[in-house]
Each structure stands twice: as structure tokens, then as C-alpha cells.
Amino acid sequence: MNAAAPLAATGLRKTYGEREVVCGVDFALRPGECFGLLGPNGAGKTTTLRLCLGLTDPDAGSITVLGEPVPRQAREARMRIGVVPQFDNLDPDFTIRENLLIFGRYFDISNAVLRARIPELLDFAGLASRADARIQTLSGGMKRRLTLARALINDPELVFLDEPTTGLDPQARHVIWERLRNLLKQGKTLLLTTHFMEEAERLCSRIAIMDHGKIIAEGEPRALIAQHIEPHVVEVYGEAAPDWADRFGRAHAERCEATGETIFCYTHDPAPLIADLDARGDLRYLHRRASLEDVFLKLTGRELRD
């Protein structure tokens, strides 16, 4: 285990009732990186984060966060961690400013320090003009930004972000990404879970894909794509697409997958596919580079989870 790792987990296991939801998870963060934890609904991402915060005890395994053994010294670890939970838990009894103030007090931060830090955080979150607004009056994006600002009140070295952009519009999402890049520039380490592959590709230096409680792939996004998937994807749409795949696609692509009337052809050489599709002219298609989403779907399957 790397002693300098901001977070190292080995052999983590957690069982709820009869079901093991975390089954032997190992991972370690490097200082200053953004590490992505991806996985379908119910994969065990939030449970893993809860274990790392010491909010529940593992049935097996060990966790070290910022040099503190967790759960034994979880309180000391949490002093130096920021948390953006999956579901907002801002305090509806307070204004935006009060939310930051009260949360800062939970960390025993002095009023003098808080008075200096809160305006900075309000700026960071783009909420300076709404500082005295009540929580109920905020949009989803504003709440998420405030939750992120609140997570930074203790100037943490490590920030846990559980789906920070789920449910946000593209504008709000881009603002959050920009802020997260900002945090990386300041040298903070981020642990991010997300369902947006694009988000992971943009922000994360390394990702782990989790399914059924296990990490099934880990590495840099580009490397994972190169390792697991053909570089070109041709998506073919329409009623006649499955038929086309059977007669032509499957013979000329390394792999074809179907969901309904859409065919995904994975290949190193898209030229013959495109030539044929152009010649027919009756099937709509899209040719693109392989992405992390293709890796994710290949490894975790296309079936619904919940």
C-alpha cells in the first residue's frame, strides 16, 4: 500500500442482509488526481464512499484516508475531507450564507476564518448575489453549487463527489466541471462517481468501473478505451438495420451489438461499412471514435439494472 496515497482501500467487503454489495474492492488515489468511480445503478459506489467516510463498518478490508485508519479515526479523517453527497442535504431552515456558516462551525472553524472564507466560496459558487436567499428558492444547479461550496468550507485536501452533476442542465454541468478543474489546479484530490462517461473522460486521470460490487476495470480513460474496444464505431439506425447487420455488418466489423433497431459496429477499419451504407443510402448511420461509454457498456452490458 502506498503510504502517501490520500486514500487507500484494500479488500473492502460489505454485506446487507444476504446480499454482498461490495465484494473485495481495492483502489488507491494518487495525490492531486481526480479518480472516477463508475458503475451502473446499485453497483456499490455510494456504499464504497460511505465505507471510506467511516459511516458504516466494512465486514472485511482496511481503509486509510489521509493517513488516518477508517473507521477508527474517521472523525479525524473527515476533518480534512469535503463531501458532496448524492442527494442534497442543505439545511432548509437557513439561508445560503447561514448554511456555509453553520457547516463551518461543525468543523470548529473560528468565526474570523469563516468570515473571510464565506465570501470566497459564495463567489466560487456564483451565489454572491443570492447570499441571503432561502434554500427552497434555489434551482437544482444552484443547490448543487452550494453543496460543492459547503464541501470546501474546511479547505479539504480530499473531496468526495457522489454524482455531482446528476439532474443538472448542460450549462450547470459545465460550470461544475470548471469548478472541479479549478480544485485540481489547487492541488486537491477528487474522488468522483458519475453516470456521465463524458464527465469522467473530461475530468478523471484514472477511473475504475465497478459492477455488482467489484472493480472490473481500472486505468486511464484513453488506455481503457484502447485496451477494451475497437477504435471506430459505426452506429446504424432503422428498421432494416438488424437485417443489414446479419447480411453485411457482422462480416465486416469485429463486433456488432444491437439494441432494438440500432446496431453498433466496432471495428479497426470502418471504410467497408461506410462504403456499403453510402451505396445503399436507405440507412441512417453515424461514424465516431470509440468512447468510454462503449467500454462501459461492453463491460457492464446493456440491460437495465433496477
Binding site: 465486514d59 473507521p71 472523525r75 442535504n89 432548509p92 431552515d93 461543525y106
Partner: protein, 262 residues
């Protein structure tokens, strides 16, 4: 490593005070209406029954009925206020607003949170009970300075009922659940524990049962003190209330750990 032992002894830290402070800050925003609301109910009982019923009665245990009633109402309003705060309000913070979840992401433990809620509910009930005592004093129903000893008693009574309320909160699936506690525990205590009439008016079996209930012991202390005498077996009554407070807090904590720290 084995799963957490929910019955492990509590580990206290001073951070519980931050939970108390948060709740006080919310309360302060609505302090005046909240205080008036809390006072209205007990005062209605005290004046309604005290003057209405009191006119028909001779002295009760050597005092006017309204003076007799005042000490009981101090205790019952403390019970009501602590129970409401520890159930409806704490449940809102735990289940609806997820305030406790946010606290647990900060360097607080669930032990801090539950202790903070206990002391907060007791503090709030302390205000209610004391307000009734003050009104009674202003009306001249409190003849002795010995009544000052009622002040810490109100807080202890608040702790006992806050602990019981927090047990209900730890078990509750929804707000409706609290109605059972009110119907099956709070209302019977109002009637059986000597708030409205002396215990010795009850059948013998009910008198024995009443001795098991915390409100009985609060009333048994408060009434003589308000009237200027030292209560017989005062140490026993204090001990019963203290045991209720400590044991109920411990049970509430274990049940809340089981609920939230899975």
C-alpha cells in the same frame, strides 16, 4: 473486522454542542411565536381547570386547586414540549431534511448528534416548564423560594422525556407513528401521574403502576417544592428520573445507530 456494535457505550465529544447550537439558531428565528404557542396550551389548562373546577373544590392537599394544578402543569408541559421536540422535530431533521446526514459528513459522530438532540429537546422543554412556573409565580401561586429547586428539576424531567421521545424517533417509519406514543403513553401519564388530582384518588393497582412512570416522580418533587416543603424521599424521585434519562438515551442511541449506520 466485525460490524459495528450498536450497543457499544456512547463516546461523547463536545461537538454535540454544535448540534444544540444549530437548533437554537433555527428556533431563534421563530422564538416569540414558538414560545407563545408552547405556553398557550398549558395556561389554558391551568386557568380553565384551575378557576373553573377550582371554584367547586375545597382545598386540595392543603392548597387551592389552582396552586395544586400549577405544579402539575409545570411538569406536564415540560413532558409535552420535550416529547414534541424529540419526536416530530428531530424526525424532520433526521428523515425529511437529512440534517443529521449532513452532520455526519462533518466531523461529528452519531453519538454527538443524538446527545445534541437530547440536550436540545430538554432545553426547549425547560423554557416551556419554566414559563409556566413564572406565570404561576406572578399569579402568587408560588409561596416559597424553595420553588427555585424546581428549575433544575424541569431540566431533568426534560431529559427523561427527550430520551423516551428519541427512542420513538429511532423506531418511527413516519410521523403517524408518534400518535401511538401520545395515545398510549403521554395521555395516560397526563391522567395517572397526579397532574390534575392527587394520586391517592386512584385505585390501588393504578397507584402502583403510576409509580413506574417518570411523570409521577416529577410531580411528586415539584408540588411540595412549589408549596414550600421538601418532598419526602426526594432522592428516590430524582434517581428514577435520572435513570429514565440515562437508560432512554442509551437505548435511543443504539436504535438510531442501527437505523442510520448500516
Amino acid at each position: 473486522m466485525s460490524a459495528r456494535n450498536h450497543w457499544a457505550l456512547p463516546q461523547f465529544s463536545l461537538r454535540f454542542a454544535q448540534v444544540w447550537r444549530r437548533n437554537r439558531l433555527v428556533w431563534r428565528k421563530l422564538a416569540i411565536p414558538s414560545m407563545l404557542g408552547n405556553l398557550a396550551d398549558p395556561l389554558l389548562y391551568m386557568f380553565g381547570l384551575g378557576y373553573g373546577l377550582g371554584r367547586m373544590l375545597e382545598d386540595v392537599n392543603g392548597m387551592s386547586y389552582i396552586a395544586f394544578l400549577a405544579a402539575g402543569i409545570v411538569c406536564s408541559s415540560t413532558m409535552m414540549s420535550a416529547s414534541f421536540e424529540a419526536m416530530y422535530s428531530a424526525f424532520s431533521r433526521m428523515q425529511m431534511q437529512k440534517t443529521w446526514e449532513a452532520l455526519l459528513n462533518a466531523p461529528l459522530t452519531l453519538d454527538d448528534v443524538v446527545l445534541g438532540e437530547l440536550v436540545w429537546a430538554a432545553s426547549k422543554s425547560f423554557l416551556s416548564g419554566s414559563a409556566v412556573l413564572i406565570v404561576a409565580a406572578v399569579l402568587g401561586l408560588v409561596p416559597s423560594p424553595l420553588a427555585l429547586a424546581v428549575v433544575p428539576l424541569i431540566f431533568l424531567t426534560g431529559l427523561a422525556f427527550a430520551g423516551l421521545g428519541l427512542i420513538m424517533t429511532a423506531l418511527s417509519p413516519s410521523y403517524d407513528f408518534f400518535m401511538y406514543y401520545f395515545t398510549l403513553c403521554v395521555t395516560p401519564m397526563m391522567l395517572l401521574c397526579g397532574v390534575f388530582f392527587p394520586l391517592d384518588q386512584l385505585p390501588a393497582a393504578a397507584q402502583v403502576a403510576a409509580q413506574l412512570l417518570p411523570l409521577t416522580h416529577a410531580v411528586s418533587l415539584a408540588r411540595p417544592l412549589v408549596n414550600g416543603t421538601v418532598p419526602p424521599s426526594w432522592l428516590l424521585h430524582i434517581a428514577v428520573l435520572a435513570v429514565y434519562a440515562i437508560v432512554s438515551f442509551y437505548v435511543a442511541l443504539a436504535l438510531t445507530r442501527r437505523r442510520l449506520l448500516q
